[in-house]
């Protein structure tokens, strides 16, 4: 009885699936899928290497400090970094005093209340504060940005496929759409005339739907002046800020990797010992 019911149920499910298969194939032949502009023109991330790549990689402190400078002078005007505190900057190689000064000099102040009147007010940041957001709330952020919401950057390299390479590619990925061709030599506006970038958006083949609300943030070389004398090319700035944002998303990466090596080394010895113990115990047993 069980087997009879099972047979019928199996026949039903498998049959419906095969029917569905026929249906899928017929539909695909009758109404072949239309190629989409994203599928044809969205680009893979640009090749870029970081000091923190790989299981032995460590952050380049100098690069992180440069990246912080790019963030604070360029990105921070629109993008928050809510999950990072000023005190965390000590990990970039700043002293306690420098962190304090950085917090105090931050362009956006921390919302607070006037201790005498209770009115809303702002005060300079202290190291214990999270980085203050440039906009009070989402509505304010959208109102100031043509109804687009600049995402928080605290986790951006973990929240996007490709991580830091994605951020790097996106920052350098602004192109002129007129006459733009992909690697196969197809011209976008000829293939998809209706996909012209709408007004107020910007063409960027590294962005998911090719049209991004953010205008190219790194417009020219030397947009920021690095304290360590590094030449601030666009590529350099993009690389530095991507590294900085990787740190912001994963501040404990170095602890993680070094703990990992210790754990692996320990486990290797343990496993060898356990194997020897196992072989010794089984030495007299054929199995």
């Amino acid at each position: 009885m069980v087997r009879l019911i099972a047979f019928l149920v199996g026949l039903f499910f498998s049959g419906m699936l095969l029917l569905g298969l026929g249906d899928t194939v017929i539909t695909a032949i009758k109404e072949p899928a239309v190629p989409s502009v994203e599928a044809e023109f969205h680009e893979e991330t640009l090749p870029v290497k970081f000091a923190h790549d790989g299981p032995l990689g460590k952050y380049d402190r100098g690069q992180l400090q440069r990246g912080l400078k790019v963030y604070s002078e360029v990105c921070a005007a629109c993008h928050s970094l809510k999950l990072v505190s000023f005190r965390d900057f000590a990990a970039l190689g700043y002293s306690e005093e420098q962190v304090k000064a950085l917090a105090k000099a931050w362009k956006t102040e921390v919302p607070s209340i006037n201790p005498e009147t209770g009115e809303p007010a702002t005060r300079p940041a202290i190291p214990a504060d999270k980085i203050p957001s440039p906009f009070a709330n989402e509505v304010a952020a959208r109102a100031a940005n043509n109804n687009a919401l600049p995402p928080d950057l605290s986790l951006i390299t973990k929240a996007r496929e490709g991580g830091p390479a994605y951020v790097y590619s996106l920052l350098l990925g602004y192109r002129d759409q007129a006459g733009y061709k992909n690697e196969e030599g197809k011209e976008l506006l000829k293939e998809f005339p209706e996909a012209a970038t709408p007004a107020g958006l910007h063409f960027n083949p590294w962005f998911a739907n090719l049209n991004i609300a953010m205008a190219a943030p790194l417009a020219a070389d030397d947009q920021v002046t690095y304290d360590d004398g590094t030449k601030a090319t666009k590529a350099q700035m993009a690389e530095d800020v991507s590294a900085f944002l990787t740190w912001a998303a994963e501040p404990k990466m170095e602890n993680r990797k070094s703990a990992g090596w210790a754990a692996l080394g320990f486990l290797l010895v343990f496993t060898v010992l356990a194997w020897m113990s196992y072989k010794t115990i089984w030495a007299d047993k054929k199995h």
Binding site: V2, G10, L17, I281
Partner: protein
């Protein structure tokens, strides 16, 4: 409940004797995983995975209890509390990554454990009850994992909760009220998050309870073995301790090496980037996929594309959505009937030439295809492939296995485990 030649627990010293007379817990342990449990001498490395699954559960419970000390189940605070754990709590990143990847490794281990049961016929008499309890554990694990994935309240958490509770809305008449009952509202929100946290904390202990039953049931007939031949005498077995404790110790080392390598060097490899974006009820991620261990079932769900009805009348009896949901649950529930679908008296796949062909060239590839296609967008080629693979999956268990059991001529079995070990070699690596 054991073989007559099992070593007996002999308490040494007055304290052990005192305890043994009042609460024979050491005796229980001795008989369960000690020298008092005789085990076939020919077990291969696939038999390590039961113990490893237990280890994985303990890892999850310990790290989970630690995480719950810092997590708060609030729609406004959950995401930030997880990041607080990652950034500010001492070693919090380690505990969180271990828990996150521990879930994946729990499933890897359990899938290998199930695979071993399927190939070596561990579900057959007299071990049906062990199998039924095992499938129950698997279902509980899936529920626990799903609810745990909702807790960080990222985009995938939120939309996963939305989609999975959406399954229930496919049930006619009671579907929508049932979904609202499960969620405590019209969409996943505070009520859902709080109850998921509560249940996510509870279920692992339920799993631990069912595991005790699973092991209890195992000790009635004793462990199966790669030949599938029953134990005939003392020469066929060795005491669990020290023989298999030593082997499991080595297996544990290998398991932990893999676990540590992923947890410390590629902790987000098995996760999805979208879950690092806080939940936004107004915007769905471009491409919703469940965690990898649910992908085969997700593929089955998506593979049903046509309604079942009376042709040319437009009357629909079972809409495609409901059928997908039924088939997805059915694909797991059918495992409950497996002991009665596969009626071959031969347990081990080694001695079943026809079964082995369908197993290796049918079931395993179809599961691989389902896993792969489950994570792919709904393009024609992936849909067609998963429909083919899903059709085979159901046919394999419900149609092919019962027929194969009838018509197959098994290879001659060895007379005993000892003969298999010491006499002629096994047909395949054991």
């Amino acid at each position: 409940m054991s073989f007559p030649w099992a070593q007996e627990y002999k308490p040494q010293g007055t304290v052990s004797k005192w305890v043994d007379e009042r609460l024979p817990l050491p005796r229980l342990v001795y008989n369960a995983v000690g020298a008092g449990y005789p085990v076939p001498r020919n077990l291969n490395y696939f038999w390590n995975f039961g113990v490893l699954a237990g280890v994985a559960l303990v890892i999850q419970i310990v790290t989970g209890i630690v995480l719950a000390m810092h997590y708060y189940a609030s729609v406004d605070g959950a995401f930030n509390s997880v990041e607080h754990i990652m950034r500010d709590v001492n070693s919090g990143w380690f505990v969180r990554y271990a828990h996150m990847n521990g879930a994946s490794f729990f499933f890897i281990v359990v899938y290998i454990h199930i695979f071993r049961g399927l190939f070596y016929g561990s579900y057959k008499a007299p071990r049906e009850m062990i199998w039924l309890l095992g499938v129950t554990i698997f279902l509980l694990m899936m529920a626990t994992a799903f609810m745990g994935y909702v807790l960080p309240w990222g985009q995938m958490s939120f939309w996963g909760a939305q989609v999975i509770t959406g399954f229930f809305s496919a049930i006619p008449l009671v579907g929508e009220p049932l979904r609202q009952l499960l969620l405590g509202g019209f969409a996943p929100d505070q009520a859902a998050l709080n109850r998921f946290f509560s249940l996510h904390y509870l279920l692992p202990f339920v799993i631990a309870g069912v595991i005790i039953l699973h092991i209890w049931a195992l000790h009635i007939p004793g462990s199966s073995n790669p030949t599938g031949v029953s134990v005939k005498g003392e020469q066929d077995t060795v005491p669990f301790h020290p023989y298999y404790t030593a082997k499991d110790g080595f297996g544990l080392g290998i398991f932990l090496i893999f676990f540590v390598a992923v947890t410390f060097f590629a902790p987000n490899m098995l996760g999805h980037p979208d879950n690092y974006i806080p939940a936004n009820p107004l915007s769905t991620p471009a491409h919703i996929v469940p965690e990898w261990y649910f992908l085969p079932f997700y593929a089955i769900l998506k593979a049903f594309t046509v309604d079942f009805g009376i042709p040319f009348t437009g009357i629909i009896i079972i809409p495609a959505k409901l059928m997908g949901v039924l088939a997805m649950f059915g694909s797991i529930l059918l495992l409950f009937f497996l002991p009665w679908l596969d009626t071959s008296p031969v347990r081990s796949g080694h001695y079943r030439p026809l079964f082995r062909k369908f197993f290796w060239y049918g079931l395993i590839p179809s599961l691989a295809i389902l896993t792969y296609c489950g994570g792919k967008p709904p393009y024609t080629q992936w849909v067609v492939l998963s429909q083919l693979a899903a059709a085979y999956y159901f046919a394999h268990f419900l149609i092919i296995l019962p027929i194969v059991s009838r018509i197959e001529r098994p290879l001659p079995l060895p007379n005993s485990i000892t003969e298999a070990v010491t006499g002629k070699p096994l047909p395949a690596a054991a």
